[in-house]
Symmetry: C2
Subunit: 245 residues, 2 copies
């Protein structure tokens, strides 16, 4: 059972200010919870149904410091951010922010990505393509937003997310800068590169001018039909697949 | 102002059974509404704020049969399915289902896609790559679900969606069948084709066995990192970009 205080604490974590204050975030659902429990992440609380706890006892026991709360379906529902609560919810201590910025390896830079689904999907794409660093401008959506955690499907564990002044990073790095735009060079015709920074812009405004001005290449996925644009995460996936093939 | 009956009618359209009963669907927000009004679609009702109606008077007048309701922000909020209502909502008559299945051109087949965001994004991807036909199994999410309309950003206007028995279509078509799986041939190494059916499976279960068995090729986006899979819409985008380049 959850105490009133625990219930209130967990519900507060849907808000970024409380995640920052307590330095924790939430991951929900059987599959994602197992991925986090199987990692070296520092888990603070496991809230789960009886059946789930029985099935995953050994996995939970790996984490000596964890508080385990067995709850009813109604209790889980009362703290869940999902449309239908799914057996288990974790409160996880945030890892230390990564110290070193990437050099001479592929990375993705995000300029003001606002949609949590896009952010999570992009973290998952980075993970699929073995990209270890994601550089986010300060005004991107919080990468510990529950919807980002959901969409990333555990890929936070393998992708380091830097939240930093993007213009400074872009200006300082020696790597080629590839800005995804609607009026650049055909991505299929770009010379092969061993590494670089793929820059993806805001969902409606694209990449800001100060970044565009210092980009090495503007790159575009050739359009054959009528859609005005592609979704930011889909574009990221396509560009990664072509650049890192 | 909206009558009580109109208010109730519009709110009922978030449910598929009422969309089917009345043969209409909803599109919301300034950008999407203008795209639909600019088309030959048959618009039944325009519900909008005063300022929006003034700015878009000519666009609305193009549609002789339309009912126009000027509403307050509160009224719009009361019928909106968006987190924040955005100036305008349309009730649109469903077009006739497309009659002819595609032959000798690229098309996408969806086997049990459940997430409305994925469905809408895939319609937008098809539109970007000039793919005119999407073949959906009968158990896919309704393509007129408001979240699908939102994510497709008007691409319904240019992509014909067939809701049909997918196994029959797959078995009958003479085109090459490319099934997206996690254990197929590297998509980059596939021989170039002029046309074919790209088959995308359910978000968690993938493509059903009866369809996999008759696929010409199983194709895969090579994985370099740790993620177990890619999002269905992202995979669709990547495969289209490589197949149709």
């Amino acid at each position: 059972m959850l105490s009133k205080t625990q219930n209130k604490y967990i519900r507060s974590l849907t808000q970024q200010k409380f995640r920052k204050e307590y330095n924790v975030f939430i991951a929900e659902g059987d599959k994602i919870a197992r991925e986090w429990l199987n990692s070296n992440a520092s888990i603070q609380i496991v809230v789960a149904l009886e059946g789930w706890l029985e099935e995953n006892r050994l996995l939970v026991l790996k984490h000596a410091e964890v508080t385990v709360c067995e709850v009813s379906e109604q209790e889980l529902e009362s703290i869940s951010g999902l449309q239908t609560a799914n057996q288990v919810l974790l409160v996880i201590n945030m890892p230390f922010p990564p110290a070193l910025l990437p050099k001479n390896e592929w990375c993705i830079a995000l300029d003001s990505i606002q949609d949590p689904g896009n952010m999570g999907t992009i973290i998952r794409i980075a993970d699929w393509f073995g990209i270890k660093h994601l550089i986010c401008s300060m005004n991107c959506v919080d990468v510990y937003n529950p919807k980002v955690i959901q969409a990333a499907m555990g890929s936070h564990l393998r992708v380091q997310v830097h939240s930093t002044d993007l213009v400074t990073f872009i200006a300082d790095t020696k790597m080629p800068l590839l800005a995804a735009t609607l009026d650049g060079e055909d991505i299929h015709k770009l010379p092969k590169m061993k590494y670089g920074v793929l820059i993806i812009g805001n969902e409606s405004k694209g990449i800001s001018d100060d970044i565009l001005q210092i980009a090495t290449y503007k790159v575009t996925i050739p359009r054959k039909g009528g859609a005005e644009s592609l979704n930011a995460a889909v574009s990221t996936g396509i560009l990664c697949a072509i650049l890192i093939s």
